[in-house]
């Protein structure tokens, strides 16, 4: 790796001795010798296997649940329903005051997406748990469902999640997250060209090589050790403590080894119910998603829709940007209100635009709840923004990279969030990119600097 020390030579702190030096990863000796202990490498005598009975419907009222046949199945030790869970309705981000609680650990009265957990079966073997799960009888009254964000926002749409009372998340700023800067309509009035485009994305599954799961061992004195591949250890510990109404001191979580996560293992789904199973049976419990469950049940990246309207001058300056973003949370919030909020912060792009207007909605539909995935809330936004930038450049007949130099934010510029830009270095990145990609730009752009001192 080459270190370019000529950039910001007068402001950089030197004497750095880590950057640019290869360092072996601490965990790789364990990986190459097969010694790294993943959660499923823990095996305890007498361990029970947990299998979920899941909703076959996208939206349905539960009239009744009959577990009697399942309980009689050879090898079954215990069957759990909603009434066994001490605090059954929860939401992950309640720990940072983002509510309301809107999701059930085990469905109670209603299912809101296909694949939702309804009944947990604990048995001596995986096979017995599977066979018994198939014997649980749930009587459903199927309800109309909504799968499209625009449909969900229409008056009279089926109400997905009663805990919200409407099919969108209510922020303290209202029905959406907003950014207002300058006067966007005046900007459009002044623009030489206006371009409005819509962009859409589908959900994306992380597909980690190791599936989601945990292994729980009762330690006596009502204490439990949970080996898990969570990516969010303290969210998991604290939410489990709330769901099970147990002090955190009784819960010992062991993690840190994750066989691929990419954001897909930040939700708190497997641990509370597995620990509850261990508590009620006094036996170790393992709950591991099959590959099929991982692909169908684990929360994906949200589907998004982004509508961008830009006003641009012939000389390349963007003078107005209006964005409406929609994030499909699926049936429950999980991390999606936060994802939609990040979008609002991100849509001005790394560009200096004097007039900006942004609304982002977190919408509920009867789809698999979406959640975190690598840069969620901003990755799809970047895709949309940069495709839009190329289209704008084409519209005014300008080179797309030169067009970005004109609009790139530089130190001292005011951002749409009313924070002055500091340490941008975007100009320098684009200069390097231009060289690396052999995409020449006019000399005046190569002479620019993000750091405006003396400029």
């Amino acid at each position: 790796m080459e270190l370019r020390k000529d950039y910001f030579a007068d402001v950089r702190k030197d004497g750095l001795h880590e950057i640019g030096q290869p360092r072996p990863r601490l965990d790789s000796p364990g990986h190459v010798t097969g010694k790294t202990a993943y959660f499923a490498d823990r095996n305890f005598p007498g361990m029970l296997h947990l299998k979920m009975v899941r909703s076959p419907h996208h939206h349905a009222r539960i009239r009744s649940i009959d577990t009697s046949e399942a309980e009689k199945h050879p090898g079954v030790v215990r069957v759990l329903t909603a009434k066994d869970v001490p605090h059954n309705v929860y939401t992950i981000l309640i720990l940072i005051q983002i509510g309301p609680e809107d999701e059930t650990v085990l469905a109670d009265g209603k299912v809101r997406w296909r694949g939702e957990a309804v009944v947990a079966v604990l048995a001596e073997t995986e096979r017995a748990a599977q066979e018994a799960a198939a014997k649980v009888k749930v009587d459903y009254e199927v309800l109309p469902a909504v799968f499209d964000m625009e449909e969900a926002l229409k008056p009279g749409a089926p109400l997905v999640n009663e805990y919200h009372g409407q099919n969108y998340y209510l922020y303290d700023s209202g029905e959406c997250r907003k950014v207002r800067f300058g006067d966007v309509e005046a900007g459009f009035a002044q623009a030489d060209h206006i371009l409005e485009q819509s962009y859409r994305s589908s959900p994306i599954e992380h597909a980690p090589t190791e599936t989601t799961g945990c292994v729980v061992a009762p330690e006596g004195n009502d204490r439990f050790t949970c080996y898990t591949n969570t990516q969010a250890m303290f969210f998991t510990l604290d939410n489990t403590s709330i769901i099970l109404q147990m002090p955190g001191s009784k819960l010992h979580f062991v993690g840190g080894t994750v066989g691929g996560g990419f954001g897909g293992k930040v939700d708190v789904i497997v641990e509370p119910i597995a620990i509850l199973g261990a508590k009620l049976t006094g036996r170790p419990v393992c709950f591991i998603y099959s590959r099929e469950e991982e692909m169908q049940i684990s929360s994906p990246r949200a589907a998004e829709k982004v509508v961008i309207k830009d006003g641009v001058m012939k000389d390349g300056r963007i003078v107005a940007r209006k964005v409406t973003g929609y994030t499909d949370a699926g049936a429950y919030s999980r991390h999606s209100p936060y994802g939609a909020q990040k979008g609002a912060a991100h849509y001005p792009g790394p560009y200096t635009i004097p007039n900006v207007w942004i609304d982002t909605y977190c919408v509920y539909t009867n789809r698999t709840p979406s959640s975190a995935m690598r840069g969620f809330g901003v990755t799809i936004g970047d895709f949309a923004l940069e495709v839009q930038m190329d289209k704008l450049a084409r519209l005014i007949g300008m080179d797309p990279l030169e067009f970005r130099f004109i609009n790139a934010y530089r130190d001292g510029d005011m951002k749409a969030h009313r924070q002055p830009t500091e340490g941008a270095a975007l100009i320098e990145c684009m200069q390097e990119a231009s060289r690396a990609a052999n995409w020449p730009v006019a000399e005046k752009y190569m002479a620019m600097s993000s750091y405006k001192k003396g400029a």
């Binding site: 072996p24 990863r25 965990d27 790789s28 000796p29 364990g30 990986h31 190459v32 010798t33 097969g34 010694k35 790294t36 202990a37 993943y38 499923a40 490498d41 095996n43 992380h206 597909a207 980690p208 090589t209 190791e210 599936t211 994750v258 066989g259 691929g260 996560g261 990419f262 099959s290 590959r291």
Partner: protein, 160 residues
């Protein structure tokens, strides 16, 4: 469920177990014998994380019944280092940043070992072909391919 006796060699030592008929080799190794180096990623023969070497052939242990392995010579990544010295493949994976989460690594190393045992000087295409049954969701494959090529060079230098 009927139990059947199986006896095989695992990384040079004799193993004998009574297992339930129908148990996969992956489960037998991990849950009965305690070698957890083969990983279960899909349990349906598509990810390669459970790859082991049986009588010199690369096999998916999730699709191999343990009871068919009697008398076999089985090798896993856990047995690859000799006397605490890493195998050249292990060394190369370590040095080339070819592991991230590490979950695919034991299976990758087994697949690479079968390749190098047969083709000591593989081309890049040979490596890609040999690893094509092993899924890695983290590395983007390129560091893995480089590691295998590096290990092959180290091997041929040792031989020379």
């Amino acid at each position: 469920m009927a139990k059947v006796p199986v006896q095989f060699t695992l990384n040079g030592s004799e193993k004998a177990e009574f297992i339930e008929s129908g148990t996969t080799l992956l489960h037998a190794l991990r849950d009965k014998i305690g070698d957890t180096s083969p990983k279960g990623g899909c349990h349906q023969g598509t990810c390669g994380a459970c790859s082991v070497i049986i009588d010199g052939e690369l096999r998916l242990s999730c699709l191999t019944l343990a009871e068919t392995c009697s008398g076999a010579d089985i090798k896993t990544t856990a047995g690859l280092a000799e006397g605490g010295v890493l195998h050249p493949l292990q060394r190369a994976f370590l040095d080339a940043f070819a592991t991230q989460c590490g979950f695919c690594t034991p299976g990758m190393i087994m697949a690479a070992k079968v390749l190098l045992d047969r083709t000591p000087n593989p081309s890049r295409e040979d490596v890609v072909e040999a690893l094509s049954g092993n899924i890695c969701r983290c590395t983007g494959y390129e560091p893995i391919i480089q590691a295998v090529l590096t290990a092959a060079r180290a091997n041929s230098q040792n031989a020379a």
